[in-house]
Amino acid sequence: MTESQPIQQYLQLRSEFMGYLYAITRDAELAEEVYQNAAVVIIEKASSDEAIRNFRAWAKEVVRRQALHAIRSRETARRHGRAIAPELLEAISKTFCEDESTASIVQEEAKAMQKCVDELPQEKKKLVAMRYEHDATFDEISSRMNSTPAAIQRALSRIRKMLHKCTQRRLALSEVQQ
């Protein structure tokens, strides 16, 4: 990653951080809010004279702390019926913070996935859009698609697996070609 302004670096890491935030909040809106709050910390820190040696690692820690604080203060348990198990929260955060994938690898993965998304048949893409663009629940999607929530959940699960396999295949192919 180039040595751009911290906030620009932060924006470039958006997807990675949003993935983690969604994993521990399972609430797109709250994840976005935490991401913004962490941005405030990043900007404030960037204004100080203190040097940041490893921006990505440091930003991860900022995001993690903001997320845990938000989860505690927002009582997500009340909104989702049951809070995420503390040991799982801890395990996910550790998995996120210990990820040593380089920025270029992550970018390659992003490009590969984008191609896989583009190749999805229209119907599948529509399902993905409903879930990720409109934040629709399985119930909402099923009522619009004349299906059942369970069937929609299974369909989306299959699409995710397809996307994962397709992404890995593309990455493997590009490794061979290099």
Binding site: E32, E33, I84, E87, H164
Partner: protein, 330 residues
């Protein structure tokens, strides 16, 4: 980087189930244990986590909607079209954004359809018809000036009065009466300036918001935004759009009155969203004359229409308000 480490189907099911929020407590425990002890599970979880993040980002930026499927139709009612920051949304498709594929000819076509739908709308007045008419009126490219009052009965120090100019669904200028800052959008860029300071400009409000939080002395202005994903609730269009998406609405006053009053009650808890919104719209034109929003913490905001005088063509652009300020792009 290919994911060379193979995870079992059970692990994959647990990981995907986690993102679907469908795991039992026991399954969550199982996943936590696998994450703590198995490098393959951690690797698989990371790729899934990044994938989920990207899908949300692609969705946020409007790149997931199938290109051939327009997001609006005549049935969507007035206001489900055009400018990028407008979020009036079809009931059958609660999108927060208008996808970039929404080209001008589609917008024009949908406008014709919407106008037709409006003209053919049943004469009986109900809350939905009042809302639709108000949305259509809010889309008009007419300058309207509102007085905005922020208040909380428990804390008079929080009281603030601002003046808001809006044109259509995307252009606005807002400034507090003390002149401590001015903020606006010309429909494509957001900007903010303080007296004798630089003007901060960005095409993405999400980039501006963090900067504003630091620089605006009274941060309550940011409370007007429901979320970084949604437009500022400073404009009537955004407010009406929010009502349509997330609120139960009822018509408070009977037919035959010069103003229609609708009350909107939040269906389910949403971060930063007002608990109730009340709107008074002109019965003939649909123009919103007054709107009041109430939050659970007793904060409230009132918008009152002052006039509809035409403003200078450049009014919504920052050089008009900060002509000598240094430009800082975010």
């Amino acid at each position: 980087m290919s994911d060379k480490n193979k995870s079992t189907p059970e692990t994959e099911a647990l990981i995907i189930g986690h993102f679907d929020n469908s795991l039992t407590e026991r399954q969550e425990s199982e996943l936590a244990q696998r994450l703590a002890t198995c490098p393959e599970t951690r690797a698989r979880f990371r790729t899934q986590m990044r994938m989920e993040g990207r899908l949300h980002s692609l969705g946020r930026d409007g790149f997931l909607a199938p290109a051939a499927v327009p997001q609006a139709s005549a049935a969507d009612g007035p206001g489900s079209h055009i400018e990028h920051r407008v979020t009036t949304v079809a009931e059958s498709s609660p999108s927060r954004r208008i996808p970039p594929v929404f080209t001008s000819w589609m917008a024009a076509a949908s406008t014709v359809l919407l106008l037709t739908a409006w003209a053919l709308w049943p004469s009986g007045v109900n809350a939905a018809s009042v809302l639709r008419k108000a949305q259509l009126a809010a889309q008009e490219l007419v300058d309207r000036t509102y007085r905005v009052t922020l208040s909380n009965p428990n804390d008079q120090a929080l009281e603030q009065e601002l003046t808001l100019n809006i044109r259509g669904g995307s252009k606005f200028v807002i400034r507090p009466v003390d002149g401590s800052y001015i903020m606006g959008s010309d429909g494509s860029e957001f900007w903010m300036a303080r007296p004798d300071g630089p003007v901060w400009v960005t095409s993405d409000y999400r980039a501006l918001a963090p900067a504003l939080r630091r620089r605006i002395p009274n941060q309550r202005i940011l409370g007007l935004a429901t979320s970084p994903n949604k437009p500022l609730l400073l404009d009537i269009t955004g407010l009406l759009s929010l009502i349509k998406q997330k609120y139960e609405i009822e018509l408070v006053n009977p037919n035959g009155t010069p103003e229609h009053h609708i009350r909107a009650t939040l269906r389910s808890e949403t971060v930063n969203a007002p608990e109730t919104i009340e709107v008074w719209a002109d019965a003939d034109t649909g123009v919103v004359i007054k709107a009041m929003t109430h939050w659970t913490n007793q904060n409230s905001r009132t918008l009152e229409l002052l006039n509809s005088e035409t403003l200078n063509q450049n009014w919504y652009q920052y050089p008009r308000h900060a002509p000598n300020a240094k430009l800082r792009r975010l």
